[in-house]
Every structure is written in structure tokens, then in C-alpha cells.
């Protein structure tokens, strides 16, 4: 069953955001990696690149298909996770941990407001169970 950690915010395109001050760590959700199947290739934006909220910032490919990764927030890429590029299976094995994708310096904290709460994201993916339903 898909896990949806309480401390994160989510996009409708199935990315998660962990905010720490003016920096956001971004990855794709457990649900997303389940839908994709085994991830075998990842393309992520380079350090210094600028990503825009809701625009494609990278690609993950499973054996069967390629899928865009959309930036859930805008900002400058401070770091991309090179371990994911070397070992794309980390996205499946630990989507909220070692499978993180980029660290972004937030351009506009206001963009966090429309992101989904864990409860709203659970509803979005059709999970009714879980804490804090609204």
C-alpha cells in the first residue's frame, strides 16, 4: 500500500516536497514509483539550473515507459542526487529517502500554499484510509 508521510507536501503530479527554511528537497511519491514499476533511468536538472513549478524538470524511465518529473516548486537547483542517476532503483526502494531527486532554493514560498496536504494527496490517489482525512 502506498505510503504518504505526514511531514511532506505533495503535487497532483505525484512529487513530494520537504521544506527546510528556504530549501526544498523534491522526489516522487511511493504511489508514483509503484505506478511506474522498476525505474531504470533518470534524468535530473543540473546544479545551477532553474526549474519552474509544474514544468518538466526531468524524466524517469521504467522498463516500459518514460515519464516526466514535474517541479513542484520553482527555484534554483542546489544539488541533484547523483546516486539516483547511478542507481535509479533507489527511486523504487526508498522514494522518500535515498531516492530524493533535487534540492531547490525556493524562489517563492507562496508556491507551497497550493500544494496538497498528506490527507488531500491520499484522496487524490484514491486512498481513503490513513490519519487526518479531511
Amino acid at each position: 500500500m502506498s505510503t504518504v508521510p505526514e511531514e511532506l507536501r505533495y503535487s497532483k503530479e505525484h512529487e513530494w516536497v520537504r521544506v527546510d527554511g528556504d530549501v526544498a528537497v523534491v522526489g516522487i511519491t511511493h504511489f508514483a514509483q509503484e505506478q511506474l514499476g522498476d525505474v531504470v533511468y533518470a534524468e535530473l536538472p543540473e546544479k545551477g539550473a532553474t526549474v519552474r513549478q509544474h514544468a518538466s524538470m526531468g524524466v524517469v524511465e521504467s522498463v516500459k515507459a518514460a515519464s516526466d518529473v514535474y517541479a513542484p516548486v520553482s527555484g534554483e537547483v542546489l544539488e541533484r542526487n547523483l546516486k539516483v542517476i547511478e542507481r535509479p532503483e533507489l527511486v523504487n526502494q526508498d522514494p522518500y529517502g535515498d531516492g530524493w531527486m533535487v534540492r531547490v532554493r525556493l524562489a517563492d514560498r507562496g508556491e507551497l500554499q497550493p500544494l496538497l496536504s498528506p490527507a488531500a494527496y491520499r484522496e487524490h490517489i484514491g486512498l481513503n484510509a490513513g490519519a487526518g482525512g479531511d
Binding site: 514499476g37 522498476d38 531504470v40 533511468y41 534524468e43 524524466v59 524511465e61 521504467s62 522498463v63 516500459k64 518514460a66 532503483e89 523504487n92
Partner: protein, 370 residues
């Protein structure tokens, strides 16, 4: 394409119980993967054994008359020379010398031949064959009544032989590649063939769909699980066959491609008469204009339909591409002009508007060692 409801194989309930992800394929609802996932299923097949439901495949049966001679004139390979208990891969071609289907013909008895055809081509092949067969050779389409269960991998033969009965264990274990024999496996009558589509040793078991397939499937799973056998869906079947450079009809070959372009000239016995022979012989004289080559792609996965480019100019198209789990590289098949088909040629594949370096390599990428 079609709005008709999807067909379900006799093993549909087994797939659901195993938690398979089911997808439409060639008019059938088929398992694309089980919970273990495509990579795990692929690796289990290479290391131990995989169990496949291939009941969507078509089975055409030709009995009596002079079926052997009649099929010899419709299949590219040497069917007339096929011994009883042996099978052969070949092509159905049209008069233009392009590929109608790729098939395996099994000679079950002197005047009893089984042709396995691609699921997407059953109706087309039936029409192609029926209009060219002599009236004395009836064609029976047994596709719906026949299930096909494959066991593939280094431990496959041991697993199948281990539950064979009536003293058939030794005969099955010793059956050569492309051999075929009737047997009882776990109490169920099967036609057991040493054929497959994974690059591994193994068996394909033809069985009565409703009565035979479910108990056979369960017996194979139970007997094979301790040896590492797992159910495998169409997703891993595709990565397995591509690493072994086995063509997929509809992707790599179709009615716009020729046997020589596809590297299947070896299946064409040009010193006999068969449908398409003259066109293929003429093409052989002048040499094919393009060839299906293997690529290794550095940085991205090539997919069916992607352009192959040389110096920024499109020169061909990818027909199949994936990450090869055993090869450990991104591999693809593509048609390129004959002049660019030499091993080592540097090309590129256009992936998401970027030209990603690719190199023409020797195939198959994977060849089993035992």
C-alpha cells in the same frame, strides 16, 4: 483499435490471485507483470526459471492431405525436411517478399502439423493461408481451445521433467532444442516443445485451455518455486527476447519489412518454391537497402518509433528499445541504411529532442552459456 471485449485466457483467475497487473494485448487481457516487477522476473528467468502464460498466441493445425508439402510452399524455411517430432522457425511472406508473420511449425505426426502464430495476426494468417492452401489440406484454428504455458530458464527443463509421468522424464530432459513430443505432466496431457522466446533453454507446453491449463500452471508453480521459478509477465518477456535479439512482429518486422532487412535471411530456403521466394531472391541479388541493427545507447532509453540520426539527419527508426537488465545497458533494434550497418558505426537516437550517442553493436546482446 477494436471495441470488442478483451478475451481472457484460461489462467486469468490465476493471474488475478497472484496480483498481476493486467493490460490489453492483441485483443487479450494479459499479465504485464506480477508484484515482483519486470526486473526481478527477468533476472529470475535468467538465473532459475520463469513461468509464462502465452495462451494469446495462435495455434493453427493442418492435418491430413499433403499438409507437409503444402506448408513447405507457404513457409520460408525447410518444412518438407522437417522430421516427425521436430519444429522449425520460419516466415510467412507475401508475393512482394515482405513479412506477413513469423511462426514456428511443429511436426507432431507424419500428417499432423501445428503452426504457432502471433496473437495479433491470427485472422490475417488464416486468410493468407486459406486462400493459398490446396482444398485437400484443411486448416483448423485451435487458438481459443489451446492454452500455451512456457517454462524458460536454466532450471526449466528440470522442473518440467520432474513432474512428468509415464517414464517421460528422461525423454523430456533429453529432448533437443526444437524437439516436440506428447507427454503427461502432472497428470495433464500436453504437447511439450523445447522452444521459447527468451534466449534460455526451456519448454513450451500446449494444453487444453479450460481443462488442462489451470492445474498445469499450479503444478508448475508448486514444483518450480523451490528452484526459484516465478510467474513472468509480458513486460519481462519483451526484455528477455530483445536481449536475445528475437524479433517482435509489429515492432521489428511487419509487412513493410523484408526477411533480408530484418536479418532473417537464414530462415529463407531460396532453393525451394515458397510464397515470396522470387521477391526475396531478387532482393538478395541486389542486397537489402537497409538493415535491422543492434544499438547500445549511451544516456537514455530508445523506444519504438524514435528517429536514428547521423550528423543531425534522420537515417532510420528504432523498432524496439529497452534497458537490458542482464546486459546492463540500454539496447535497441533499429533499421538503418546498409552503409551505416557496420559494427562500430557511431550514430545517435533522438530522445526527447536530444541526439543521444548510439553505437552499432554485434547481436545478440545476450547468449546463454550452457
Amino acid at each position: 483499435m477494436s471495441e470488442a471485449p478483451l478475451l481472457r485466457t484460461a489462467l486469468h483467475a490465476e493471474h488475478v490471485a497472484l496480483g498481476a497487473k493486467l493490460v490489453p494485448f492483441a485483443g487479450w487481457e494479459m499479465p504485464i507483470q506480477y508484484p515482483a516487477g519486470i526486473l526481478a522476473e527477468h533476472r529470475a528467468t535468467r538465473a532459475a526459471a520463469g513461468l509464462f502464460d502465452l495462451s494469446h498466441m495462435g495455434e493453427l493445425r493442418f492435418r491430413g492431405g499433403d499438409a507437409l508439402a503444402a506448408l513447405d510452399r507457404l513457409v520460408s524455411s525447410d518444412i518438407a525436411g522437417l522430421a516427425v517430432g521436430r519444429a522449425r522457425y520460419g516466415l510467412l511472406a507475401n508475393e512482394r517478399g515482405t513479412i506477413v508473420d513469423d511462426v514456428i511449425v511443429y511436426r507432431l505426426a507424419a500428417d499432423d502439423l501445428l503452426m504457432v502464430v502471433n496473437a495479433s495476426n491470427v485472422a490475417k494468417d488464416r486468410a493468407h493461408l486459406a486462400s493459398r492452401l490446396p482444398a485437400a489440406v484443411p486448416l483448423a484454428d485451435e487458438s481459443l481451445a489451446t492454452a500455451l504455458v512456457a517454462v524458460q530458464g536454466p532450471r526449466a527443463a528440470g522442473i518440467v521433467a520432474g513432474i512428468a509421468e509415464d517414464g517421460m522424464a528422461a525423454i523430456l530432459a533429453a529432448l533437443p532444442t526444437f524437439g516436440v513430443v506428447r507427454a503427461r505432466v502432472a497428470g495433464i496431457e500436453v504437447i511439450a516443445a523445447r522452444t521459447g522466446y527468451t534466449g534460455e533453454d526451456g519448454f513450451e507446453l500446449f494444453v487444453a485451455a479450460a481443462a488442462g491449463a489451470p492445474p498445469l500452471w499450479r503444478a508448475l508453480l508448486a514444483a518450480g518455486a523451490p528452484a526459484g521459478l516465478v510467474p513472468v509477465g509480458l513486460g519481462a518477456r519483451d526484455t528477455l527476447r530483445l536481449e536475445a535479439r528475437l524479433a517482435l512482429y509489429g515492432n521489428d518486422i511487419d509487412e513493410t519489412t523484408t526477411p533480408l532487412e530484418a536479418g532473417l535471411g537464414w530462415t529463407c530456403k531460396l532453393d525451394k518454391d515458397f510464397c515470396g521466394r522470387d521477391a526475396i531472391a531478387r532482393e538478395k541479388e541486389r542486397g537489402p537497402a537497409r538493415r535491422l541493427v543492434g544499438l547500445v545507447v549511451e544516456g537514455g532509453i530508445a523506444r519504438h518509433g524514435h528517429a536514428v540520426v547521423d550528423g543531425g539527419v534522420e537515417v532510420g527508426r528504432v523498432t524496439s528499445g529497452t534497458y537490458g537488465p542482464t546486459v546492463g545497458a540500454n539496447i535497441a533494434l533499429a533499421y538503418v541504411p546498409a552503409a551505416r550497418a557496420t559494427i562500430g558505426t557511431a550514430l545517435a537516437v533522438r530522445i526527447r529532442e536530444r541526439d543521444v550517442p548510439a553505437r552499432v553493436v554485434r547481436t545478440p546482446w545476450y547468449r546463454r552459456t550452457v
